[in-house]
């Protein structure tokens, strides 16, 4: 049984009374435990929408979605909040750290919301801050650290609850290539220690770190690439080729 299952997911945004935008038409997707999956597609293809539905921040118009056998399509506001806290971790493109807390308290936030004990928080942060190399950042404010450092704090915040699934929406979008590489190696590392990751990205380079890459177009999963045993540069080449094919299709169809 896979960790995450999406069946016939459709999402329609209604603007005004008449104008309907079909963001997702028919998405079928399953993710196994321990997988690292990348999602690619053009701007406006519906990647964020898909991620938001998985994150229970939004509900599908139709279709079913289960995580760990829990049906997510019809959770109440209260239940979905609790579900997010307990089962999901988020990393955002714009980090979304809170200026009101120092970095340590930013990382503690999900545990505080789950009413964890302070001793427990301290226990959890120790190995995490060592692995992410953020020990000396913890007592500073988010406004006092660099973008790459912020993203590492955000990742620590996402991982401190030991979530079933880590969701990342363009986690390297605001970073230079050096910092991006560090973050992706980090993802690779935590994935190797068992963490399931679903990552939306625009960069083929970033996607090449994943074990599988999905291409979304016209509201469906248009293509899927498995890395298998290839090395990363081979896989990267494959991804770039697929993207090119995707774009040329568009040119011919126009």
């Amino acid at each position: 049984m896979s960790l995450l299952n999406l069946k016939h997911i459709k999402k329609v945004f209604t603007e005004g009374n008449t104008n309907q935008i079909v963001a997702l038409r028919d998405i079928d997707l399953s993710v196994e435990k321990g997988e690292f999956v990348a999602i690619m597609g053009e701007s406006g293809a519906g990647k964020s929408t898909l991620l938001n539905i998985i994150a229970t921040l939004d509900q599908p118009t139709s279709g079913t979605i289960t995580l760990n056998q829990t049906d997510l399509s019809h959770l109440s506001e209260k239940d979905s909040s609790q579900f997010r806290r307990e089962h999901l971790g988020f990393v955002f493109q714009s980090f979304n750290l809170l200026d009101t807390f120092n970095n340590r308290d930013n990382i503690f936030l999900p545990l505080v919301l789950s009413k964890a004990k302070h001793e427990f928080m301290i226990e959890r942060i120790k190995p995490l801050s060592k692995a992410l190399g953020i020990d000396n950042l913890l007592d500073r404010q988010p406004s006092e650290i660099s973008g790459g450092q912020k993203q590492r704090i955000a990742i620590a915040r996402a991982l401190i609850t030991q979530p079933d699934l880590l969701l990342a929406d363009e986690p390297t979008g605001a970073l230079d290539s050096g910092n991006s590489e560090k973050i992706l190696q980090l993802f690779n590392h935590i994935n190797h220690s068992g963490q399931t990751i679903l990552m939306v990205t625009h960069s083929a380079e970033a996607a090449s770190y994943a074990q599988r890459t999905l291409f979304i177009k016209d509201g469906i999963i248009y293509n899927e690439l498995y890395r298998g045993d290839q090395n990363r540069s081979h896989y990267l080449e494959q991804i770039i080729n697929s993207l090119a094919a995707l774009q040329s299709r568009e040119v011919t169809s126009q």
């Binding site: 921040l57 909040s81 307990e86 936030l109 915040r157």
Partner: protein, 637 residues
């Protein structure tokens, strides 16, 4: 001009912050204008005791200008955080320092023009409407109001100065600009002020000095300057204490890990610490406004409630004639004839002779005659036979025993020493024909001795003849009788007291004070409500993004509400507590003022204070409840 466009653009784009800021400025302009209009556009000076009313209004004006200046400067800090970020962007795009100053100047000018314009319109409308309706409600026809340019101009100038200072302060903030630091400043948490222990101690000292000056200065017009200084010190002290105090308080909460790391406290404490100075300043402003509301309403209601006290002190009979020679037969005849002419009948006539009061002070049961600033009482004496006759009592006294009547039983001693003789005191609570000689402000004390000889020994002064009676007839007839009597007998008006005449006089006299008091407290409570509203709205918009992120991380709506409640409730009571403490030190001043009018009655003052505090707390909670709903609305929407 590009600078104008940028300033305008910024004002409009950040309307979530700039509108509440304009809103609060408008309130301050309106409040200041209302005070000015009362001073310059009314006949306040000319009504009785107008000079005191004018002095009090001037104190009030000084107070609101001070508080509004501080409040505006603090409110602008939130706004300028956002602005700083944009200025950083502009300077990256190539605007130089001079251009940035122009942008700031233009934006502040816009704020000034809009706030002052709106504030004046609201102020004029409010003062017109309230003077009109209060005149009807309180049945007080003596106050008139016109509309002149003077208060408008003065208000405009006062706020021009405040905004000028504000602009200079903003320029100061630009002094070492560097685009990057400007950009980062916006997301920086406020830091604990440097030397905060020193500041806290300074605040405490300043506050105590203010309290001390206000308590120790005697209430009189000459103490005006002292009172103004006291007010300034208390305002400064309150701000310092609230800012530093709330920071220390929040830091302590944060250090308590078991408290801090709970969902609702975690968010609330962090939010408040993030804008700790602004938070403290806002609380101080609210506290000072509450204080002003309390003081003005308690003072005016006490005056009105105390007026019966004064009336009874002056005379418990309808007519009381005090003279140095007895009323002769001719005068007696004139009185009777005039009574029948005005269609009233005279009843229960009483006559007594007492010794003329000697002024002095009472200390440790020891009476010392003097006429100085310390003089408090006026002692006169009579013999037991007269007292028993008037009161219908059957007291017996030994040579060294006396009965003592002091209004409101202010004399508590078991004995009294006068001219070296010690007398045992039996207090009596009733003396129907007590009076205040020449309506002086000293408290009368009547000593009833066994015989006339002892009465003379106690107070060796010439005797006064006191004739009193009640009048029965229509109210207007009784009043007319009282008004004409001094003329008829060719006597000094102060020697003849008519309750009907005095009651009318007091009505118009203290009605004026009540009027002003109610008006000021109305203005103050409205300002309090508006400032609390402003605080919640501006904080709501600055917290909105944070709550949105936390919702993504799994904060449910219910938990959001809990966090908001905790944030509001943690500090909600502090302003009221501060206001009550301030009030405790304002009450002695009030007592002095009331004493000048011989209207000080501890019971009245305390009960009025309690009622007003309870009322204020109720209104305050309603305001908080309503504005918290607005805050939640902003966060959740």
């Amino acid at each position: 001009m590009i600078q104008f466009k940028l300033a305008y653009h910024h004002l409009v784009k950040n309307k979530n912050q700039s509108l509440p800021f304009i809103f609060s400025n408008t309130i301050w302009v309106a409040v200041v204008y209302i005070f000015l209009a009362m001073l310059y556009d009314t006949n306040l000076k000319n009504i009785s005791f107008g000079a005191i009313a004018v002095a009090l209004m001037q104190l009030g004006l000084g107070f609101v200008i001070l508080v509004s200046g501080l409040a505006i400067i603090y409110a602008e800090q939130t706004l300028s955080k956002q602005r700083t970020k944009e200025l950083g962007l502009y300077s990256m795009l190539g605007l130089n320092k001079h251009n940035l100053r122009q942008v700031i100047g233009i934006e502040n000018l816009l704020f000034y023009a809009i706030s002052t314009g709106l504030g004046l319109i609201i102020g004029i409308t409010f003062s017109k409407l309230s003077v009109m309706s209060l005149r009807v409600l309180l049945n007080f026809e003596h106050l008139h109001q016109t509309l002149t340019i003077k208060p408008i101009a003065i208000a405009a100038i006062i706020f021009a100065i405040i905004f000028l200072l504000l602009t200079l302060y903003d320029f100061w903030g630009l002094r070492h600009i560097n685009p990057i630091t400007l950009w980062h400043k916006a997301s920086k948490a406020e830091t604990v002020p440097k030397g905060h222990t020193f500041l806290a101690i300074t605040g405490l000292i300043v506050l105590i000095m203010g309290y001390y000056i206000s308590i120790s200065s005697r209430a009189s017009l000459s103490a005006f300057l002292q009172m103004m200084v006291a007010i300034m010190l208390v305002v400064a002290g309150t701000y310092l204490i609230f800012i530093i105090g709330s920071i220390v308080f929040l830091k302590l909460l944060k250090q308590n890990e078991n408290y801090y790391y709970k969902p609702k406290n975690f968010i609330a404490v962090a939010n408040m610490l993030f804008r700790m100075k602004q938070n403290g300043a806002g609380l101080a402003t609210i506290s000072l406004l509450c204080t002003a509301t309390l003081v003005s309403i308690i003072a005016s209601v006490s005056l009105v409630a105390g007026q019966n006290n004064l009336l009874n002190l002056w005379s418990q009979r309808d007519i009381q004639i005090v003279s140095t020679s007895p009323i002769n037969l001719v005068q007696n005849e004139q009185i009777t004839q005039f009574a029948s002419k005005t269609n009233i009948s005279l009843q229960s006539r009483r006559q007594m002779t007492v010794t003329m009061p000697t002024n002095g002070e009472l200390k440790n049961n020891y009476f010392k005659a003097n006429n100085s600033l310390k003089t408090e009482v006026a002692i006169s004496s009579l013999d037991l036979q007269q007292y028993n006759h008037i009161e219908g009592t059957h007291y017996h006294l030994a040579d060294d025993e006396i009965l003592l009547y002091s209004p409101d039983n202010t004399y508590q001693g078991k004995e009294i020493i006068i001219h070296g003789h010690k007398y045992k005191v039996k207090p009596v609570t009733s003396f129907n024909t007590s009076f205040v000689y020449n309506h002086s402000t000293y408290k009368p004390i009547f000593i009833i001795a066994k015989s006339q000889a002892i009465a003379q020994k106690i107070n060796p002064t010439p005797v006064l003849y006191v004739t009193s009676f009640n009048t029965v007839g229509t109210k207007s007839a009784c009043k007319q009788f009282g008004e004409k009597l001094p003329n008829l007998l060719n006597a000094d008006p102060a020697s003849i007291t008519s309750r009907f005449v005095i009651k009318d006089l007091f009505g118009s006299l203290f009605g004026g004070f009540l009027f002003i008091g109610v008006l000021i407290s109305l203005v103050m409570i409205c300002a309090t409500a508006m400032i609390i509203y402003y605080k919640q709205v501006s904080e709501g918009y600055s917290d909105k993004a944070n709550y949105a992120i936390m919702r993504q991380l799994g904060l449910s709506q219910q938990e959001t509400r809990k966090a908001i409640n905790s944030q509001v409730l943690t500090v909600f009571l502090l302003p009221i507590v501060g206001a009550v403490i301030n009030l405790a030190f304002a009450l002695p001043v009030l007592k002095n003022v009331l004493s000048v009018f011989s209207m000080y009655n501890i019971n009245i003052l305390i009960s009025v204070s309690f009622i007003c505090i309870a009322l204020l707390i109720t209104i305050y909670m309603l305001i908080y409840w309503a504005t918290t709903a607005v805050y939640k609305q902003i966060i959740v929407s």
